[in-house]
């Protein structure tokens, strides 16, 4: 080894020494001269809010008025889960659609809690432009069911809700209060 080193060309020797110097500078020395470092993880988390627009149908055999059967559709912005009541995270606008299931020939009309009603009966009843805010609340609609003819028939219906997130009155009032302050 020694003899090899002795016999080696000077330029080659210089190169080898240079490589050793670089190794010292970039690999070994930085380990010796550690510097201060710090790392803090900032975790921003939450669970996204849910828009609750549940419908409940209340139907009883005794629900007959002037020989016309009826049932209630209740639209709620909350959900009771055991002892826990979940409230919608946001207000919503909605349309209700009451229609027949396949093979059924019922006709529907409605009256809401404020006395607003539909004009006559239709096989597809659409109640539009309703709103529920983010405070715990519900809207109740009384749906009358009729049919053509006098024979007793079974009416199978379906209730559909199309709800879209809407501006929350509370939020906007908070916002306007804050901006005025």
């Amino acid at each position: 080894m020694k003899e090899k080193w002795k016999k080696m060309d000077k330029k080659k020797k210089k190169k080898i020494l240079l490589v050793i110097e670089f190794v010292l500078i970039f690999l070994i020395i930085p380990g010796t001269f550690a510097l201060y470092k710090g790392l803090v993880n900032v975790n921003v988390t939450t669970v996204a809010g849910e828009m609750i627009s549940d419908i409940e149908i209340i139907q009883r055999d005794s629900y007959i008025e002037n020989n016309v059967p009826y049932f209630y559709v209740v639209v709620k912005n909350y959900r009771i889960n055991g002892n826990q009541t979940l409230l919608t995270a946001t207000a919503f606008d909605y349309d209700l659609v009451i229609s027949n299931k396949t093979g059924s020939n019922g006709k529907f009309s409605y009256v809401d809690e404020n006395g607003v009603s539909s004009n006559g009966y239709s096989s597809t009843l659409r109640i539009e432009n309703c709103h529920l805010d983010s405070n715990m609340d519900s809207n109740r609609f009384k749906i009358y069911v009729s049919r053509d003819g006098n024979l007793e028939t079974q009416v199978d219906y379906k209730v559909q809700i199309d709800a879209v997130q809407a501006v929350t009155e509370n939020a906007s009032s908070n916002a306007s209060n804050n901006s005025s302050n």
Binding site: K10, K13, L17, E21, L24, I25, I29, P30, F33, L35, Y36, K37, G38, L39, V40, N41, V42, N43, V44, T45, T46, V47, A48, G49, E50, M51, A89, T90, A91, S134, Q165, V167, T168, N170, A171, S172, N174, A175, N178, S179
Partner: protein
Amino acid sequence: MRKGTTYVEIPNSDIHEKIKNKKNIRVNKGNYHKTKFFLKTVMGFLIVFVVIVPFTYARYTTQTDVVNHSASVATWSFKISDSTSTYNIDLADTITQNDYSMTKVVPGTCGIIQFSIDFRNTKVDTKYNITIDSNNSNLPPNLKLYTDSNYVFEFSSYSGNVTLNNISSTLVKRIYWKWNYTQQDESSWANQQISLSLKAEAEQTVSAP
């Protein structure tokens, strides 16, 4: 007058001596080059250790009291809002004025994530870098982060240097977020975990002498 060459007789032993000396000279010259090469190398190492290394790695400020044989090392402290390892924020707590919800994060809401970077107990120049750890973040595509309250400049990172002149104060940084209300149905995000992970790194810097 007779012209001719004069010969001086040199004894054989003298000639041998001269040749010997010449050899010695050659031998000594070789040693001289070796020594020179060795010295150059040593000088090279010395330059590296004495001149370059202190400039590059003079990162501690140490005061040594010769009498008491004690040394005080510059202190280091890097905190994000009083936390040294993990700082947790509930995004719902950062909601600001909006038309949709003041309590839950839903489309249309917005807010400000605010935290302070505290170097007050640090006695060395420091650089910091705050970036999004995208591997540990899960944000709705329409929830964007900004550096300004007008929601114009999207946030990617905050970085800067803190020198000893202004190290006594804390830096307050804000990330503005907004979940844009669009016509897109984002019901799939309801009740889902939203998370934004930020990495705040600080490192001691070396100022030029």
